[in-house]
């Protein structure tokens, strides 16, 4: 299985502020009533974007900028801290990715969300608190300027600004080498797997 090497994402960006944005807010549970991930993109942040009266609310995902990103099928979402906390539902990063976002920049990410995103080939990089505030402000003030998330060099840059970014070393390695979906590596280890299994009494039914 050959995957794209994701060394850099250069695209328009959208700030979606707030800390502790949970996966129920990213994709409410009623959209999990499905057997495929198709069509999830249009429901990303559904209840944040639409009020109980069915009318649109002021939310970054309803903006013209979000529409440009959706049309381009590439974009950078700038978020806060502990983004993606809560449930393990892969539907959350799937909905963001299917909406059109191809990279996330934040203060910190919940672990399961981070892993799910990486496996989709969507890098989630972190900035320091101060840099994130600056990046967030830049993105709001300059909607026409593309933001570059450089996974290889570990930077986020836009206009004349460059911020130092971080990502787990294994995720970086997987992304830049086109091995962000681990299935090929996992399948290769079949003999070693059998050896490990044979050493575990409970797997043998004891």
């Amino acid at each position: 299985m050959s995957l794209a090497k994701i060394t850099q994402v250069k695209a328009l960006a959208l700030a979606v502020p707030g800390d502790d944005i949970d996966t129920d807010r990213i994709i409410p549970a009623r959209f999990l009533r499905c057997v495929t991930f198709d069509g999830l993109g249009e429901h990303a942040f559904r209840d944040e974007r639409t009020g109980p009266d069915g009318k649109e609310r002021p939310h970054p995902m309803n903006s013209a900028q979000a529409a440009r990103i959706a049309a381009a099928k590439k974009g950078v979402m700038v978020v806060g801290f502990n983004f993606g906390c809560g449930s393990s539902r892969e539907h959350a990063p799937q909905s963001i990715w299917r909406f059109g976002f191809t990279a996330l920049v934040g203060g910190s990410f919940a672990e399961i969300f981070f892993g799910n995103s990486t496996t989709l080939g969507v890098p989630c990089v972190t900035l320091s608190k101060e840099d994130l505030a600056e990046c967030d402000a830049f993105v709001r003030a300059n909607p026409d300027v593309e933001v570059t998330v450089d996974v290889e060099k570990l930077t986020v840059s836009a206009g004349a600004k460059t911020w130092k970014a971080s990502i787990a070393a294994s995720a970086r390695d997987g992304l830049v080498n086109g091995k962000w979906d681990p299935i090929a590596d996992l399948l290769e280890g079949a003999d070693s797997v059998a050896k490990t299994a044979s050493g575990l009494a409970y797997v043998a039914g004891k």
């Binding site: 409410p28 499905c34 393990s88 892969e90 590596d185 797997v193 575990l200």
Partner: protein, 468 residues
């Protein structure tokens, strides 16, 4: 060298180092349910792969099952489609399915322990973030995404990086009216909803030693609410006693060897932890959430925080929370009107929860302004509760007695809040919209506090209501 349980289990299940530096970890036990598995089976078919160890995956249906309609076809066609997809997938690949017709169906985190599938020193993965529940038995158990469900189906392994270990010690005896739920809500309040990122939580100390396995499950269950992907308690005699005789427990000839093996996984005296936090049981009082994250919690007899006492980041989330909850800073939460009471979930839907709730409910009536439902977490729990006459205690008091499932914890079935109803809930998440209404409000608490709320019609201190 002295090692933690986490290190020992990790080493025993390490297949090899992957090129990206991660570990290929063997997953001894894989649990699946109807919501996060169908896409994984789809990926498996697309790639032309088989299920590598079908006997190490166990399935049940819990999230979408209606709890007030036990006959199929369900009036909800999507629920019917999802349960049938799981039936087909488990049949096609030879996976054991604890289906609704078997008397053993239930929330996936209840089925594992009830069947004796959940054992110490094992690795357990499930496409559900509350998988840490199984850590109560000394397993390393964690939630995974759907692509990872595919990985486990295809290879029985995952690509993972090891976690740091934080020992959370709670010592002493809890005061009357204070429960395991209060302990975990308090821990999350103090350490924060993101405090556990990068950690496995080892819960220890004399309070945990004294806890039953069901109480330990309540605490481990909510590790993820504190940001920790997994949490565990070292196995002891109580653990072994709980497992003994369960359908998948080791048989007589293998029992002693299994116990010796299980005991050997417990953290060694003198092992090194990456962090240690110590709590006193006597400092913990009945705890309820007031906001939209599980960390936004207060003792029932405290006021909700004044905004000026919070730091800038917490303040922003708090303002959002107060607006959503329609509550006011620096006022008591006690006395807040309650519309719905939900007793159930993988946090607090076990037999000991139902017994404790029924003990205080007996002879009392649910307030006429409250809709109260009790949803046993599993069919086995429901059967046991009926055997003990607990269902009658609930129904005579005015609770609706329902079938087993996740129900109003996440409202993927018809059990939902309506409008801005406020729910006193024994579940685990108070996120905006979590209980099925965009404007619905959730106050998390222990089962006995849910009963106190049901009787009085408002958020109440169970210690006062029941004079405990």
């Amino acid at each position: 060298m002295a090692k933690t349980l986490f290190q020992k289990v990790w080493e025993a299940h390490t297949v090899r180092k992957l090129p990206n530096g991660q570990t290929q970890l063997f997953i001894g036990t894989h649990l699946i349910h109807e919501v996060t598995s169908p896409q994984a089976f789809g990926m498996l078919r697309d790639l032309g792969l088989k299920v590598k160890y079908p006997q190490r995956t166990f399935a049940t249906v819990d999230h979408i099952v209606p709890t007030n309609e036990l006959k199929e076809p369900y009036s909800d066609p999507i629920a019917q489609e999802m349960i049938e997809a799981l039936r087909k997938n488990t049949k096609d690949y030879g996976i054991r399915f604890f289906d609704t017709t078997t008397g053993t169906q239930g929330i996936v985190h209840m089925v594992g322990p009830e069947q004796g599938i959940t054992q110490p020193g094992t690795t357990i993965a499930c496409g559900d973030s509350h998988t840490a529940t199984h850590g109560a038995f000394g397993a390393i158990a964690f939630g995974i995404g759907t692509t990872q469900v595919r990985d486990v189906l295809a290879t029985q392994t995952l690509a993972l990086s090891p976690l740091k270990v934080r020992r959370i010690e709670v010592n002493g005896k809890l005061a009357p009216g204070v429960y395991a739920k209060d302990v975990i809500l308090h821990i999350i309040r103090v350490l924060g909803v993101n405090g556990g990122i990068g950690y496995a939580y080892e819960y220890a100390g004399t309070t945990f030693d004294g806890f039953s396995l069901e109480e330990r499950m309540t605490v481990c269950n909510m590790s993820i609410e504190g940001g920790a992907r997994c949490g565990y308690v070292n196995p002891d005699q109580k653990t072994f006693d709980y497992i003994k005789g369960k359908p998948y427990a080791p048989k007589a000839a293998d029992w002693d060897a299994a116990v010796a093996r299980w005991a050997s996984f417990a953290s060694d005296p003198g092992c090194q932890y990456d962090d240690v936090k110590v709590f006193k049981a006597e400092d913990i009082r009945p705890t309820v959430t007031w906001g939209i994250t599980p960390g936004q919690a207060v003792f029932i007899d405290e006021k909700m925080p004044a905004l000026e006492t919070l730091n800038a980041a917490d303040r922003q989330t708090a303002e959002d929370a107060y607006a959503h909850m329609k509550l006011s800073p620096n006022t008591p939460i006690k006395g807040t009107k309650v519309d719905v009471c939900f007793l159930g979930s993988c946090t607090n839907g076990r037999i000991s929860d139902l017994r404790e709730a029924a003990k205080y409910l007996k002879g009392r009536k649910v307030s006429p302004s409250v809709k109260a439902i009790v949803v046993p977490g599993s069919q086995l729990t429901a059967i046991q509760a009926v055997h003990e006459g607990l269902d009658k205690v609930f129904t005579e008091a005015g609770f609706e007695w329902r079938g087993a499932g996740c129900s109003m914890c996440l409202a993927m079935n018809p059990d939902k809040l309506v409008g801005d109803q406020l729910c006193a809930s024994s579940s685990n998440r108070n996120f905006k919209g979590r209980q099925g209404s965009q404007t619905g409000r959730t106050v998390l608490m222990s089962p006995i506090m849910v009963v106190a709320a049901a009787i009085t019609g408002h958020v109440a201190d169970a210690r006062e209501v029941f004079k405990v």
